[in-house]
Amino acid sequence: MNERDLRHQIADVKAGRLSRREFVQRMIAVGLTAPMAGAMLAHSGIAVAAEAIPYKPTKAGGGGPLKLLLWQAPTLLNPHFAVGTKDQEACRLFYEPLAGWDKEGNLVPILAAEIPSPENGSLAADGLSVTWKLKQGVKWHDGKPFTADDVIFNWEYANNPETSAVSIGSYKNVKQIEKIDDYTVKLIFPQPTPFWADAFVASYGPIIPKHLFADYIGAKSREAPANLKPVGTGPYVFVDFKPGDTVAGKRNPDYHVPTQPYFDTVEIKGGGDAVSAARAVLQTGEYDYAYNLQVEDEILTKLEAGGQGKTELTLTGNIEYIGLNVTDPNVEVDGEKASLKTKHPLFSDPEVRKAINLLIDRTSVQKFIYGRAGVATPNFLNNPERFRSKNNTFEFSIEKANQILDAAGWKKGSSGVREKDGKPLKFVFQTSINGPRQKNQAIIKQAFQKAGIEVELKSVVASVFFSSDVANPDTYSHFYCDMQMYQTTMPQADPQFFMNQFVSTEAATKENKWQGRNICRWQNKEYDETYKLAQSELDPVKRAAHFIKLNDLVVRDNYVLPEINRLNAIGVKNGMSLYKSGWDNDLAFIASWYRAS
C-alpha cells in the first residue's frame, strides 16, 4: 500500500463508500495504529467528533465501592516516575492529562477545552508549534485552580535530568512553552513534529500541581511528600496508599465533569498472580475489574464458567516475534561476540531465512496457545485476521521449506540434519521462561526437525532475560544466540518510537552497552532513509505510507519474523460498564465507568 492507495481509501471514506471504522481496521492491518489513521482522516478534512464515551448515570456518586485488582501492585503514585503500567494505572485515579486516546485512536479532551487541529488554528502548518486551550474552572483536590502555570511546570519538571523522570522521553522534544494566557499554552518544537500529541497526552501526560511540587524539582524530587499523597484533578481524591499493596480513593465532589464519577470509593488491590486475579473477578466476583490477564485462554474460559464475569479483549500493538541474529554470536571480534563486523554463517543465506519463515506454524500457535488473546500475523505491528494486508501473508508449509532448502544446496546428511559446505543447519533458540513460550518453542522445534534443521532450545529466567545488566550475556539485548523469541510492546499510539528499533544506529552493541533497541542488529540503508523521512513528514498520509514501507522492509527480509499480535485481556465483573482503549491506560477513562444495575 503506498501513498496513492491511501489517498484513494481516504476519498472512499469521504464519499461514504468505506466506513470510518473499516478504514481504521485496514490501516491497522498494514502496520499503522488507529491514532495515525485518525490523524490522516482529520488532515484530509474528514472531521469526526470523537465517539461519545458511553455513560448512563445522570448524577455523580451513589455507585458504592469500585474494586480493582492489579496483580502487579502499584509502587508509586507520581506519573513522572511511573515505570510500569501498574503505576501509570494507579496514577490515573488522581491525575489527568490534557487528553487521552479513545478506542478508535481519536484524541479525547480531558483537561483540555478542545483538541488542537488545523481548523481551529491551534496546529501550526509548519509543524513547529501546537496551542492547547485548557478547560476553565478545574480545581486541584485542595481547591487551588488548575492553570497554564501547572502545565508549563510539568514540562520543566520532567525535562530536568536531575529529576530523573521516566517521562522525559515525551517532554525533551519540546523546546519552549509559551504562556499565552492563564488557560492557553503554546508548545514550540525544535523541528517539524508530526506527532505533537505526546507531551501532556495519555500515559506520560498526567499533570501534577505546581504548588506542591515546585520545591522538589531536580535532585530533590524523591523527597516531595505529594509523591505518596497525590493531589490531582482526577475523579477520585486520595485516601490511602500502601506501596506494593493498596491504593484507596474517594469520589471527588468537585470533579470537572459534574455527573461523574459514579462510584463513591475506589480501591486498587495489588499483588498475587494473574490466574488468581482472573479467578477473583470471573469466578468468585470479589472484584469488579482485573487488568492484564496474561493467562492461557483455556484457563480463562474455565473461570468464565463461574458466571460472575467475562474476559474483554482489546487490540494493542504488542507483538510476539522471532528474531534471527544477523551477526555471528559464536565468533568474537575485538572482544565482542555478535559484532556488527560479522555475518551469521547460516542466516546470511536468504533461502534459509525464507525456509524458517515457512516453518513457523503461526495458526497452531494461535489456536493451541494464545486462543482469543492472540492473532497470528505476518506483519510487525498489526492485526490481520479479517483485513490481512495485501502486502504480506504467512504460510506454514514443511514441504515448501524442504524444497527451498534442497534447491539452495542444503543437503540432508546421514544424521538427517541438512548441511552445506560442511556447515550443519544447527542452532540455538532462546526465549524467557513462560509457559506459553516453552510450548511455542516446542511447536517450532517439531516443524524444524521435519525439515532437517536441528535446533537446541534454551530458556532464560524472565528477570535475567529482560534485564539491562551489561555483564550478563543471557539478556535479550546481548542476543548471544542464533534465534530468540519475545514480545515487544507498543506503549505509544504513534509508531515513530516503535519503529526506531530497526534503525541501523540503534543496533545493540558493546559500545552502547547493549542499550540500543535494534536487537537483531538488522541494518538496511533504505530503512534508515525512509525512517528519516517519516520523522519529519508533516502530511499524515505521506507519513503513513512511509511507515507501511518500513514495516514491509523489515518483514520481507525474513530476519524479523512476526508471529502473534497479542491482545490485552482484562476481567470484568458482570454489570460493569467500563470504557477502555487499547491506545491508553486501562484506567484512562475511569471517571466514566459505571455499574448498570
Binding site: P161, V166, R279
Partner: protein, 319 residues
Amino acid sequence: MGNYLLRRLIVAVPSLLGISLILFVLLALAPGDPFGELASNPNVPPEVREALRAKFGMNDPIMLRYLHWLVAMFQGDWGFSFASRVNVDSLILQRIPTTLYVVGTAQILALAVALPVGVLAARRPYSIFDQIANTFAFIGFSLPTFFTGLLLILIFSVNLGWLPFVYRADLSATGWQWWWESIKQAIMPVMVLGLYQAASYTRYVRSAVLDVIKLDYVTTARSKGLDERKVIIKHVVRNALIPVVTLVALQMPTVFGGAIVTEQIFRIPGIGSLLISAILANDTPVIMAVTFVFACLVVLFNLIADILYGWLDPRISFR
C-alpha cells in the same frame, strides 16, 4: 550471667557483619537489574536509565557500595526502595502489623494444637489416638502450603463462597463488622500456616514427652500415688518442654519475617510479600534491609533460646 550476655553480644557483631557482607555481595553479583523494565520501554531514553543507575549509586564498585550501605545503616538510614522511592524503614513498618497478626496467630494456633495432641499421643504410645495423630502430623507437614492454600481457596471461596481469598489490609467496614471481616479473611491463611507448623511441633512434643515419661522419677511420682494430671503437667511436660521451647524460640524470627508463599497466595501485604516483590524487582535496598533484619532476629532469638534453656534447666550454667 552478665558476663555471658556481654560475650554473646560481642560475638554477634562479627557474625552479623559477615552475614551482611555475604548478602550484599550475593545481591550485587546476582543477575538482574532494577531498571530492567525501563529497558524494554522505547519511550524511556537509555540516558535516563543510565542517569538513574548513577543516581542510585549502582555503578560504583561493590565494596564501596557496601561501605556506604553499612555506614548509613549504623546511622539509622536504611536507604530507599528503587521501586517506590519510599524509605525502606517505613515500608517495613507498614507491613509488620499484618505479618505479626497472621503469622503470630498461626504460631499460637500451632502451639494450641501441638501441645495437647503431642502430650496425649505420647502418654499412650501406639494407641489409636497416637496413630491418628501421627498420620495427620505426617500428612500435615508433607503437604506444602501452596497446595493446602489453593485447596482451601477452592473449597471455601470458590465452591462454598464463605471466605474471601484476597486479603485486604484496609477494610472499609467499622466496629464489629471490621472485626468480623478481619477474622474472616485471616481464617484461611492462619489455618494453612498454623496446621503446617502444628504438624511438625506435634512430632517434636510427642518425642520429647516420650523421652521423659519413661524416666525413673516419673515412675516414682506415680508410685507416690500422685494424681495422673499432676504427674503429666508438673513432672513430665515441664521437663519435656525444654527442647520444644528452643524450637519455638528459633521459629520466632519467621513471625516477623513473614511467610513468603502463603502471603503471595492470599495477597497478604506482609513482610514476606514485600521481600518476594523486592526480589522480583531487583530492589536491592529492600531485600538487604529485610534479610538483614531477619538475620539480626535469628541471632537475637538464638541468644534468648540459650538463656531460656538455662532458666528452665538449672543443670545448665552460663560460663
